[in-house]
């Protein structure tokens, strides 16, 4: 029904999602091309997290279509979606605080059959994030907030993501750490992974994104290249401040 999906990591078409009686997403459409960082901006409750959750297969879609890397995944189970390389780093990090850091990373590779691949990817994560390597045997809960966020991203990397979906990675973090996280995201993107970034912190998000969407009440109200949106007075008024 749409153009050939080659070069498109994620295509959401006209998605409707209900929570009970609440119409959380109303015909939302988003596209992430391969190699892009796309930011999804919006207020709390606008439907950003719901969008990610329905891509992940955690929240069922009422109608509409979700296509990941050319395949329809609208009805796919969460593990199928992870298996296709669409990895979701949930809001609030949600690391396993009583498992060790190493185990957390291993869980990232849960669906990867080949243990050698998992070990190799973990080694790569340790290279990028040496703080984690130092503390690999410690429980995840002993990490500071920023380190936990790093671990959450690292854990997603072990899964071998083709599309990484990050939900509010900057939440509750100090400005310095936010900068580091954003740098990490850029770095991951440069290595070829597409990124869908959900952020409240519009300024930080727009700085690293190629394109962005603004979600309000479950609908896309604005979209365009990040630089254009950053200059749009409507975005400035609502999300960036004067």
């Amino acid at each position: 029904m749409s153009e050939p999906a080659s070069g498109v990591a994620l295509e959401i078409e006209d998605l409707d999602v209900f929570y009970g009686r609440v119409h959380a997403l109303r015909g939302l459409s988003i596209r992430v091309r391969e190699g892009e960082i796309v930011a999804l901006l919006g207020n709390n409750g606008a439907g950003k997290t719901t969008t990610l959750a329905s891509v992940s297969g955690v929240v069922p879609a009422q109608s509409g279509r979700i296509v990941a890397f050319g395949e329809d995944v609208t009805k796919a189970k969460p593990w199928d979606i992870v298996g296709r390389g669409v990895i979701h780093v949930p809001e609030g990090r949600r690391i396993f605080s009583r498992l060790t850091i190493h185990e957390n990373l291993q869980l990232g590779g849960y669906l990867v059959k080949d243990e050698k691949v998992v070990d190799q990817r973990i080694a790569e994560v340790y290279d990028i994030l040496p703080r984690l390597a130092e503390r690999r045997g410690q429980q995840g809960g002993t990490l500071s907030g920023g380190e936990q966020q790093m671990l959450a991203v690292g854990r997603a990397l072990v899964a071998g993501p083709r599309l990484l979906m990050l939900d509010e990675p900057s939440m509750g973090l100090a400005p310095l750490i936010v900068t580091q996280i954003m740098e990490l995201v850029e770095r991951i993107n440069r290595s070829g992974t597409s990124v869908l970034l959900v952020e409240q912190n519009a300024r930080a998000a727009l700085r690293i994104s190629h394109r962005a969407y603004v979600v309000e009440s479950g609908q896309i109200t604005l979209e365009g290249p990040a630089s254009e949106l950053a200059a749009d007075h409507r975005v400035i008024d609502a999300y960036l401040g004067a």
């Binding site: 929570y19 009686r21 119409h23 709390n44 409750g45 606008a46 109200t221």
Partner: protein, 345 residues
């Protein structure tokens, strides 16, 4: 402005909850229930139906008492029968060995129940809920086994010959009179528990159930209030114990097994924790069902078990859940006015 400042509504099913609540929260319902209880003997007043109905009423009292602990305060109690036992034994011993009238034993039972509540609640209420569950279970077993082992409690055969209820010379031991006495007392107990639930203390219990730390931060001494819930539950259980002894004329440790505690808890959860009409309904359900299934003989408990599963699957919040909602506050500024309030200063 093109973006909407108002949030997407996230109030799932409030309209439905509102209607239900208006229907259920109505006090008339209580009166109807009371009237039904009063009129039931006019439909059937055989010894059997009276005995079953009296038992059901007592069970209601127990469930309402446990509801204070579990439903309001969120403390899982798997040994509630212990308080029931303490009431029954205290009054039974005084009535048989020392010849007291049951009415005279009430103060003693109250004291005993309060003491028991403090003794078991005191050291253990700091525990997390699952641990509390096993501790209360253990306490229930300790009480039962102790009653089984001591001479003063009559050992395994228990105490018999407990006199009927006698209120200031008015003999209430006839099944019909006793039934009415029980219905009135139980109705008072239900109303009392419901009123406690709606008071400052009842709210504090709910705060503790929802979030203990936040409650503590509001100046609520969570430990004292938990203990209060425990004691209130113990008092309800203890008083029900007196009536239990009066009804059966004999009590034995067999009446206070874990199964009993589980059944009372079941009534609370099945009905809807924290909801008075729900718990009353649940108690009647749990109490009557095995009797109604009596003719199913061998299949009785099997059917009972399957029914429990089915009911919980289809109504996991209980048959008649409590809903958080109250009538719209009388004075509410209109939105425009509020908007101004924000701009002010």
């Amino acid at each position: 402005m093109f973006w909407n400042r108002k949030k997407a509504p996230t109030t799932a099913g409030t309209a439905r909850a509102g209607v239900l609540n208006r229907l259920l929260g109505d006090r008339r319902l209580g009166w109807i229930g009371f009237a039904v209880a009063l009129l039931a003997p006019f439909v059937s007043a055989t010894n059997y139906s009276l005995s079953v109905m009296t038992s059901a009423a007592l069970f209601v009292m127990l469930a309402v008492g446990l509801n204070i602990v579990v439903g309001y305060c969120g403390l899982l109690d798997l040994g509630y029968a212990a308080f029931f036992a303490i009431g029954a034994y205290a009054s039974g011993i005084l009535a048989t060995t020392y010849g007291w009238s049951l009415l005279a034993t009430v103060p003693v039972v109250l004291v005993a129940a309060v003491l028991a509540g403090i003794i078991i609640g005191g050291p253990t209420l700091r525990l997390r809920s699952d641990y509390l569950a096993i501790v209360t279970l253990g306490f229930g077993e300790i009480i039962r086994i102790t009653a089984n082992n001591l001479d003063v409690t009559g050992g395994p055969s228990g105490i018999y010959g407990i006199p009927g209820l006698d209120l200031f010379g008015l003999d209430l031991s006839d099944p019909v009179a006793f039934y009415y006495a029980v219905v009135v007392i139980v109705a008072l107990a239900v109303v009392g528990a419901a009123r406690l639930g709606r008071s400052r203390m009842g709210r504090a219990w709910r705060f503790i159930r929802e979030d203990e730390d936040a409650a503590e931060a509001m100046g609520i001494h969570t430990y004292k209030l938990k203990l209060a819930a425990y004691i209130a539950g113990a008092v309800w259980g203890g008083l029900a114990g007196i009536l239990f002894g009066a009804q059966l004329t004999a009590i034995s440790p067999q009446s206070f097994t874990f199964l009993w505690s589980a059944l009372i808890l079941m009534a609370v959860v099945l009905g809807g924790m924290g909801s008075t009409p729900g718990v009353v309904l649940g108690a009647i359900f749990v109490s009557l069902l095995p009797e109604l299934l009596r003719d199913a003989a061998d299949y009785r408990f099997f059917v009972f078990g399957v029914l429990l599963i089915v009911v919980m699957i289809f109504r996991p919040q209980g048959l008649w859940p409590s809903t958080a909602s109250e009538r719209a506050p009388d004075r509410r500024p209109d939105p425009a006015e509020k908007e101004e309030a924000w701009q002010a200063q």
